[in-house]
């Protein structure tokens, strides 16, 4: 299963580099803390107002952190001049996409856990009771964000004005994921049963499938020179 080995080694490499360089994770963690303060200041001291805004703020936080974290997906390749090396490797290039996607999902999950904990502590929101259904919504939303984010990150890594282009390309495409996840999160936090938001979850699952498939199919065209 060379394909799986290749996807795995990409993940292994990225985790190893991140563990040593510690560039992305630390800054993102701190960024989450900053967001917490930002949201509070922007919405004012009214507890009620903040409580109703929590689902939206949670996802806003994920997306903002995602823009920063995902945009850096291929930084190591660019800085170390390894694009060509990857292009010269034989076999299905989509294995690289899969490995990077896995890495990004891990990163985004870590960010989400931090944000959820911070929200729970600072905004005094009960996020523990609905933890199980919330996790499902988060997982589906994360894949949707990371699938397109990884693909576009590979593209913008090789283009001018990448810091601007990445969010401009990614955000409009993320609209349905955002709508779905916020609506579903809202319902879940209000204690509604998952069955009520089944349509949203199905939409998310379907979208995730579509995005990952497109990523797998088109990655070689983004990598190829």
């Amino acid at each position: 299963m060379t394909y799986a080995r290749r996807a795995w080694i990409i993940l292994w490499k990225d985790v190893l580099i991140e563990r040593r360089a510690k560039e992305t994770a630390n800054a993102l963690l701190f960024f989450c803390l900053l967001l917490l303060f930002l949201f509070q200041f922007a919405l004012g001291p009214d507890r009620e107002r903040l409580a109703t805004a929590v689902p939206g703020l949670l996802w806003l936080g994920f997306i903002l952190a995602g823009l920063l974290g995902l945009g850096r997906s291929f930084l190591a390749e660019r800085d170390n001049d390894c694009w060509e090396g990857l292009r010269l490797t034989p076999g299905d290039k989509s294995a690289i996409y899969l490995g990077k996607l896995a890495g990004n999902c891990v990163l985004m999950t870590a960010v989400e856990i931090i944000l959820v904990v911070l929200f729970g502590v600072f905004y005094n929101v009960d996020l523990w009771t609905p933890a199980a259904p919330l996790t499902l919504v988060l997982a589906l939303g994360t894949i949707g964000l990371a699938a397109v984010g990884t693909l576009f990150a590979a593209m913008t890594a090789q283009v001018r004005a990448r810091e601007l282009l990445f969010p401009v390309l990614l955000l409009p495409v993320q609209v349905p994921v955002l709508l779905a996840t916020v609506s579903a999160t809202q319902a879940v936090l209000l204690g509604q049963p998952l069955a009520d938001v089944a349509h949203w979850l199905k939409l998310l699952a379907g979208a995730d499938l579509v995005y990952v498939t497109i990523g797998l199919l088109t990655f070689e065209f983004v990598l190829e020179g």
Partner: protein
């Protein structure tokens, strides 16, 4: 090993490579000379299947490199300016990564042997960030050796190396040739590398202005030819 016919690469109205043809057999080394900007790197990248030529045909190890680049890539090892190393990984980890990507066997023994061949086994577990340019170059060579390349494409392998380093690369190439591999070495410096070349070619204005067995030319004769040809080529630009 290589069969290139009428390779052309144009960007807009600019012909960087303008009809290059040559052949290279196994166990042979071609030194590709030319001033900066002559198109050596472009030609090398076309040979490496990193760049598609605008016209012409290319066969590597019997495979049509343009229609089946994957088959050609399995035989090629390229060490260029960006020597494809991740600075935050150790030498051993870099090898493990690239060899896995190639789909090869990454047993500890194989990795150590490759590192030993390029005399990097002592620093195998040091991060590449601490390596000198020469050491990074050697790591690149270890990578292609591990990948069992049959054709080496080296872009300016002697730049930034001291005499010892250059001598080392020369000896490495000799050993590689003796084992049946072929190599194309692009360089703009004269002293190094010519000792190991079987053929010498000069690239100017996108064309091969010279392609002769190295034995035919003394170093001084070559130097004179180089000056006159490239001066003419530059005047013609």
């Amino acid at each position: 090993m290589i069969l290139a016919r009428e390779l052309r690469k144009t960007y807009g109205s600019n012909s960087v490579i303008d009809g290059v043809s040559f052949e290279l057999g196994a166990g042979q080394c071609l030194a590709l000379l030319g001033p900066n900007g002559a198109g050596k790197t472009t030609l090398l990248r076309i040979l490496a299947t990193l760049l598609r030529p605008t016209a012409g045909s290319l066969s590597i190890g019997g495979a049509d490199a343009l229609r089946e680049p994957e088959r050609a890539r399995a035989l090629i090892g390229m060490v260029a300016h960006g020597s494809y190393v991740y600075e935050d990984l150790t030498a051993r980890e870099n090898l493990r990564f690239w060899e896995t990507m190639r789909g090869g066997d990454t047993g500890a023994g194989r990795l150590t042997a490759a590192l030993a061949q390029v005399e990097l086994d002592a620093v195998a577990d040091e991060r590449v960030r601490t390596f000198s340019a020469g050491m990074k170059r050697r790591l690149g060579l270890a990578r292609v050796v591990l990948g069992q390349a049959r054709l080496l494409l080296l872009d300016e392998p002697f730049t930034g190396l001291d005499r010892r380093g250059q001598k080392w690369v020369n000896e490495f190439l000799l050993g590689f040739k003796a084992a049946g591999g072929a190599a194309v070495v692009a360089t703009h410096s004269f002293g190094s590398g010519l000792g190991v070349a079987d053929r010498v070619a000069i690239l100017g204005s996108g064309r091969l202005l010279l392609d002769r067995p190295a034995a035919d030319l003394s170093p001084e004769a070559l130097h004179r030819l180089y000056e006159s040809l490239t001066d003419g080529a530059e005047a013609g630009r």
